[in-house]
Symmetry: D3
Subunit: 118 residues, 6 copies
């Protein structure tokens, strides 16, 4: 069954392909750097995804929040760990983050439900 | 055939008319100043629109990105020039700009397709 | 008759309930602090809601703008007072605020129409 | 006796004069619009200065905070009223506002001391 | 021997005391919530401080960066772990973060030197 | 004769060297990508530096503004062209940009004086 996270992933894949097709060297290298930043190194991938999630919350980007929630779920973050990330994003960024917190909680619920159904 | 850029322009026109109708002197003067800022002067209109586009990307405003892409297309910016703007917006603003880059690339494709069909 | 402000309020209520259900102490306390900040004190509630509205405009959050417009209407702000808030938000935050100004003007019109019909 | 608010005002005056000397029509008109926005209208000047103060706090601009604190003091805001503005700025903008809150509290203390000494 | 981190900590302590003295209930509770957010819970204190550090970098607040670097050093983060945090802050926030990266690297060097001397 | 632009350049060089010494692959590649973004391509270097300048103004980063002003002066931008950039930065970013406009105008004056004396 389709949901807004699936639609986001399809749009993301389609447009990332289109951006790759443009073949701008700087943009392509930026995308590679961005991927590499979250590979396990001195910090494990799970911690890095949580760093990306909190950064996305305080910068108030729903698409980025959704992307990192999906990555965090894949990296085996528990709900309680993600709620801690949400709390830090909220306290650092303030009430202006609340609409993105609502979005994040809904996204997490969708992602968990999806895994149950899969 | 309608598309999201047409819908944006229709909404933009309708609400700008409504704002003019409110007749607040400060707001009206701001709108005039905003228009004037992009008129050719010491810099040509094409350069100014690209400045507006990059500012819109790093401030992560899709409506502003769409507006300036349409203006850039009218000012005869090439795809390669606009990709350079996208790249500078991306490097200055970081990966948090990526969702807006996806939007911008899609908007440019729609605008070019529209011109082919017109 | 339903409109986008009603839908926003329903979503807001539903997700705030879900967030309360999560039962994270820090998040719950933040929500309480946020509510308390707008209670009448050294400043009356109407002034505080206008402060929240202008803060929401310059931070460019449509959901927050809608929330505070509804609160301002309840607190008996006149259109002219709200237009002054819009103008200050616009001058402080610049043209990047314009899409949110369009949204705010539309939301105010919807809220007033709703009150007429109610 | 000199203090950092006096130094700020001297720098501000000197550079605003230099900007006026540049004689760019758009910039001059923007400065006029900015001044006009805080003149008494549907809202009184005191309320408008508090709106400017909270907007400055959430956008985290110390110079703008200092300017509006001085204007608020001139407009006869009480400490308690300003603390309410600080609180709303803090709750909306989050802990990232705290360094600016420290600055604001210090600026208010300097401004009050200055008035006692004058 | 004094350095800018010591001066920051002294100013921070002095002004936090002054803010406590103001005795605004909302502000006091916010400060308590802010402290609690970084206490060990579902995530350990070290991870939480790194979350605070990356949030501070992408929001481009030098004081907040310094505070969390000191906390991270206390929580036994290695240089390599902190460089990973810097890298994620840089890639998410873009080149506009670079001046704050320079500040962060200098702060970390000062903090390590301080610990060697202590 | 020393001035704040010279001091900025010395600090910038010293800390960029220190960052290179850290030898983090992701950070090094980001710095390379950042440099490459402003090399002449579909847009000439002068236009790209102006794009960087306006992006820096609306994101309100004084160090970035100083860097791009120096690059713009090297790329033979006239005062009138830079004032147009300042105006677009001001109108897009609003009055919160004014302290950075004051800084930018002062930096440009210092840079021009420096070139006369050199």
């Amino acid at each position: 069954m389709s949901n807004r996270l699936d639609e986001f992933e399809q749009y993301r894949t389609r447009m990332n392909d289109r951006i790759a097709q443009i073949d701008h060297l700087g943009i392509k290298r930026f995308f590679n750097l961005d991927s590499s930043a979250y590979h396990a190194g001195a910090l494990d991938a799970k911690t890095k995804e949580m760093l990306g999630l909190v950064a996305s919350l305080v910068l108030r980007c729903n698409d980025c929040v959704d992307y990192h929630i999906l990555q965090c779920v894949d990296a085996m973050c528990s709900d309680e760990e993600l709620y801690e990330c949400f709390n830090i994003g909220l306290i650092v960024g303030g009430s202006i983050v609340i609409p993105h917190l609502r979005h994040a909680v809904e996204s997490l619920d969708i992602a968990r439900q999806h895994n149950v159904e899969a």
